[in-house]
Amino acid sequence: MDQHVATAPHVGEAHAHHEELGFLRKYVFSIDHKVIGLQYGITALLFLFFGFTLMMLMRWQLAHPNHPIPAMYFIVPIAIIGVVVLLISKFKPSLSMLVGVLFLGLAALVSYLTSGDDRMPGGIMLPEFYNQLGAMHGTIMVFLGVVPLAVGAFGNYVVPLQIGAPDMAFPKLNAVSYWSYFVGGVVMLVSFFVPGGAANSGWTSYSPLANVATTGQTYWLVGMVFLITSSLLGSVNFIVTIIQLRAKGMTFMRLPFFVWAQFVTSFLLLLAFPPLEAAGILQLMDRLAGTSFFLPSGLVVAGQPLQVSGGGHPILWQHLFWFLAHPEVYVLILPAMGILGEVIANNTRKPLWGYKSLVYAVIFLGFMSFIVWAHHMFLTGMGTVISAFFQTTTMIISIPSIIILTALIISLWGGSIRFTPPMLFALAFLPMFGIGGLTGLPLGLAPTDIHLHDTYYVIGHFHYVVAPGTLFALFAGIYYWYPKVTGRKLSDMMGKIHFWGSFVSINFVFLPMFIQGFAGVSRRLSDGAQQYAHAQNMLPWNEVMSIGAWVLGAFQVVFIVNFFWSLKRGESVGDNPWQATTLEWSAAPTPPPHGNFTKTPEVYRGPYEYSVPGKSRDFTPQNEAD
């Protein structure tokens, strides 16, 4: 090993000095929350990348329907990324080398996907394959990408550090969560190789379509059961950790906002996921045991009467699914808002404005998110009373979001704003989430939803909240905490290129979706709506959006290179490079050893005591005694 190790051990070597564990125990079957957090992080980033790759293939099809897709344009760049990362690793066993190899594997996977007569005969994408890609893009992005990154990775790594705990409350359970997630992911990937391919009924898996779908759907359900188990165990762990393991003096109202966000998120996972598990069990029974929970009597599929007992309800699935999936979308956004709190306070050098109102708003938001689910179902034949209920709750839930966003924006006032890469991403989040959130309102009103439901308007709405919203916040988090994990900063220059490139191009992807949505263009059309008269003058937008997506993809390469290059070459930093107040910076060494703190920290003040009048420094850490 070279001399860098002594000054700034990279991720893999973080614990070399502390105890002598074998390689497997140390990195693979570790029960240290930081290692598990990193495992989550790397796996989730790879899945994000994969989910995006699927989408870029789809966008090619949408821009040039029924034209052959030049697979090499996708395979070669991914392979090149793999080789570059391998070169950075100098082929020494390390994280970079592993990821480099995995990228090569990904290239192979993509070349498998882009060949084969049941997927792309002559390079032309079949509609059924488009549907597989769509369903898997949604599933992978949500369940295998963003949630594991936001909760599994950031939550695991940061929460115990921020509350002054040595680890999670149940370290072994924590490892079980990760491995359950891992298995779930593998099952999802394997499903691409079964006859008929992966699940192709949308990420929502509506019955009866999903009941009569190909084998891939069964894999999807089994995969989901693993993912749900993982989330459940994880959320129990988080809640217990936050309640029980707070350091002395760390009262609830002194918790960093990020911890609050994770706390509420965990409750959403804990209580909303089981109904989907139930629904999954029922759909599995339908598919494997011949029951008909979601199949009414008298179905005729493909000209043949379906031989089932009948008596089920397709809508039952939707209720159970959305009972999970609505809270789930807040699971996607709350940790992002938490990250934003940390980054904004740190880079404005002042406390968050209205900390208490932020906390109450997050709790209220979490609570309300359980009773709005049927706004996804206005057009399933709802009458006036029940739709009035769900319209009202949907409008109510927008208020805490507005309170949170307003408080975050007002927090900027009076600050001394440093435009570091994490801050750039955090700042961009605000208006982007604004667009996404505001466009939720017309969807939440039943009459306006009539025209907009299941059009690209909906796609635009939620991508604004998840992509330039959550994803940007996650990028902010990566740039912000990377130095704590690795002892080195990501390159600012590359960070800024990554930011501006992504920020501009992502709007080209998602803004035209609203225009298409107003025109009434349906989503999930494998030829980009060529067959529809009302969409004729909207077709040119497809190409604009697709080019936007590929440019967006190109700028991610900058990020990946930055990520691995900086592991070795980044500017090396001390324990608290951002001059932050929270415990992970002020009390834990960089990188934190096994057990996190050399001495149990004690907390004396709130989380964001920046620029306290009368203090000589512009930040007063939580563990600094008066």
């Binding site: 705990a165 680890d167 129990v236 809640i239 217990v240 139930a278 011949g290 029951t291 007992s309 008596g311």
Partner: protein, 196 residues
């Protein structure tokens, strides 16, 4: 550094970690079975014809199973109380009985299932049977989980009594909470499926 509050209680919450953990887990289980009960209600309300449980199912066997499961709950709590009273032998006996009851429950259930299969009553036969097999099957899986858990605490896991008796007692308490919950679910399943 050790993880605090694995044995001792945290003063402001009055709990040790695992106890809070298991209650949270049970909360999620409530939602799991809640969703299934909700489905049951919807299917039943929407059905044109719904058989009475007693027409389709074997009430004496189910009553027997109810008694067996209630007994196992008592022996479970007794095993914990024995540990509290420092009586490891009695603990072994009560825990053994708990596991035995659970096994009896499964055997009886297996007979019930076997009979249903024999006369061609399969999950796909009717919505009633579908929900019956799903609910009892899932409950059965929970029973199996309980047997594994309790078996561990009865056998290899009980070594901890020597090294860390308080921690072991806590473990038994937590396992007990889970086991009582399994019993509780059955208390609702029994009338809902068999008697109504």
């Amino acid at each position: 550094m050790q993880i605090p509050y694995t044995v001792e209680l945290r003063s402001d919450t009055g709990l040790f970690n695992a106890k809070l953990g298991v209650w949270l887990f049970l909360a999620s289980e409530v939602m799991l079975f809640g969703a299934l009960f909700s489905s049951y209600v919807l299917l039943r309300v929407g059905a044109e014809h719904w058989p009475h449980g007693w027409e389709e199912l074997n009430i004496p066997l189910a009553t027997l199973n109810t008694v067996v499961l209630i007994s196992s709950s008592v022996t479970m709590v007794m095993s914990w109380a024995s540990l509290k009273l420092n009586n490891f032998k009695k603990y072994k006996m009560y825990m053994g009985l708990t596991i035995l009851c659970a096994l009896i429950f499964l055997v009886v259930k297996a007979f019930e299932y076997g009979h249903k299969f024999e006369i061609g009553h399969l999950p796909g036969t009717s919505t009633f049977l579908a929900i019956y097999f799903t609910l009892t099957g899932l409950h059965g899986l929970h029973v199996i989980g309980g047997i594994i858990l309790n078996g561990y605490l009865w056998g290899p896991g009980s070594k901890m009594w020597q090294s860390a008796p308080d921690r072991f007692t806590n473990r038994v308490e937590v396992a007990g909470l889970y086991w009582h919950f399994v019993d509780l679910v059955w208390i609702f399943l029994f009338p809902v499926l068999y008697l109504l």
